[in-house]
């Protein structure tokens, strides 16, 4: 049985779940396949707005979820095609541009609520406990999917593309197909996260999908350790809850967030996963101390 949850706990669990979904979805594109994206919030936003529009047409919540993912991955496919043309830093800035174009477009669309926001999103009809259940199930499913992809042939393909695109091409690996797959899967999941978010807040404004959001998703992936699934999950949870823990110093919380990003990159450029890897490696190098001491 679920314990009874207050509104605050429900909102915390949902927001953490949405952020973990977003971080894991970007991890497939950036972590596994090595394509840095500075515009992931655009796919999140496309999913959210698609969910709002579909929901208003009377489509039930559980059907909206995959449909919003499909709309997200349509845009993702376009950006994936762009990634075949531009690389590395050029791609990062292109994806950043996609984010700005999305927000700038929505701001001017009256049918999407423009600046005033879209507020008449229907109820999901599952109740608090049911909705929390769906969120947690999605998180688990996406985590398992990520782990499966990472171990599969697809994951090996991604890793070679991430490692060295030109060499992979020489080896006969279809770089274009892997990149498109990464973008389609990653942006589908971001769209699903968007639908979850839309049904939770039931109010969407363009500013909720801006450049800052893209940055904070990327920060979760990099602080967690690019490509590491557990690292990204831990970082997404920690970076989402951090502002809640340091509410005592409310005025300084964004400042502290910035400083923490700098310190993490400076002290452990491999993120959490890199840090743990280092620690266990140095332990393995140490001579087994207990061997001689044991009687």
């Amino acid at each position: 049985m679920l314990p009874t949850l207050g509104a605050y706990e429900v909102s915390l669990i949902v927001i953490v779940s949405v952020n973990v979904m977003l971080a894991l979805s970007l991890n497939i594109i950036t972590g596994l396949c090595g394509q840095v994206s500075l515009g992931h919030a655009a796919f999140f936003g496309v999913g959210a707005y698609a969910a709002a529009v579909l929901g208003n047409l009377g489509v039930p919540f559980l059907v909206v979820l995959p449909l919003a993912g499909l709309v997200g991955c349509l845009l993702g496919l376009l950006v994936g095609l762009a990634s075949l043309r531009v690389r590395a830093d050029f791609l990062a800035i292109t994806t950043m541009g996609v984010g700005f174009v999305f927000v700038g477009f929505v701001r001017k669309q009256n049918w999407l609520g423009a600046e005033m926001g879209l507020s008449n999103i229907p109820d999901h009809g599952l109740g608090d406990a049911g909705f929390v259940g769906v969120c947690l199930a999605l998180v688990v499913a996406i985590a398992l999917l990520s782990a499966y992809i990472k171990r599969s042939w697809l994951g090996f393909g991604f890793a070679t593309v991430a490692d060295d695109e030109d060499t992979s091409r020489t080896l006969g690996i279809d770089v274009a197909a892997y990149k498109l797959t990464a973008f389609v899967v990653g942006t589908f999941l971001a769209g699903v996260a968007g639908a979850t978010y839309a049904y939770f807040t039931r109010f969407l404004i363009p500013g909720a999908f801006g450049f800052g959001v893209s940055i904070s998703i990327l920060a979760m992936v990099i602080v967690g350790g690019v490509g590491s699934i557990w690292g990204v999950i831990v970082a997404a949870v920690a970076l989402t809850l951090l502002p809640e823990f340091i509410r005592v110093v409310n005025d300084y919380k964004i400042f502290i967030y910035g400083v923490l990003l700098v310190l993490t990159m400076r002290l452990s450029p491999g993120g959490l996963a890199g840090l743990v890897g280092q620690l266990s490696a140095s332990r393995a190098e140490m001579p087994p101390r207990s061997a001689g001491a044991q009687p």
């Binding site: 531009v86 174009v101 700038g104 940055i215 967030y257 910035g258």
Partner: protein, 286 residues
Amino acid sequence: MLYIELALQGLVNGSMYAIVAVGLTLIYGLLRVLHVAHAGLFTLGAYITVLLTNATGSLVAGTLISMLVVGIVGMVVYRLLYEPLLAQPPYVALIASIGLFIAMEEGYRIIFGPYGNSFASTWLTERVTLGPFSMAAADVAMLLGAIVLLIFLAVLMGRTRLGMAWRATVTDPAMARSFGVDTIKVRYGIFFVASVFAAVAGSLVAVLNNLVEPTMGDVPSYKSLAIIVLGGLGNVTGTLLASLLLGVIEAYGTIYTGAYLDRDAIAFVFLIAVLMIRPQGLFGAR
């Protein structure tokens, strides 16, 4: 008449972009780092200029000291933030830089307050009339400032040892080193020059709007990234042309497509369109 005034307005904005972006592209050419925190130095320059100008009564003194201080802060940022991260993948330095930028903006808000500071005297809000055209004196100052700085930059890069060393290091660091170029000194020099430029741009924008606020670096932070990519990453002339072009396109775009897209979106639609046709940027070589 509207067309010409729009073009002039675009050039004024483009000049501001140019002064900020040229520093970024110099740094990118050298280190392959997208130095987002550059926009934080831009804001720092603006704050120092306003505070010192109000304290001393001299805009010139305020700006000069601001340039010097921000130049030194730029070198410190290189030493403490980027130098230890150069061996890491590029996104590590990028996230560190974004973190620093966030912390700087929040720092300004905490120290100087959220509402912004203004100049005590405001002669720069007067307008200059030349024949049928009329511009704010601050706009004229921005255009003239950009011209002076860019001539200075052309001389610096073309005729001095630092410029020669920068070009050599960008072309081939190992070869430059073997010919006796102190590539470490070049890095400090470039960070100093780039940061001085950011301080000047910040001061000019402070004068232009007669307002300095913690978030004034937001637009330059991402717009200048778009510009240096458009200019072909590491290409100084390309960056200058791209800045002016983007300024003008934004000015016309907001008039003609403002009903469908906002100013930033217009700039990025243009950027994406260019990159799809020329993936190396407008003026990049590949």
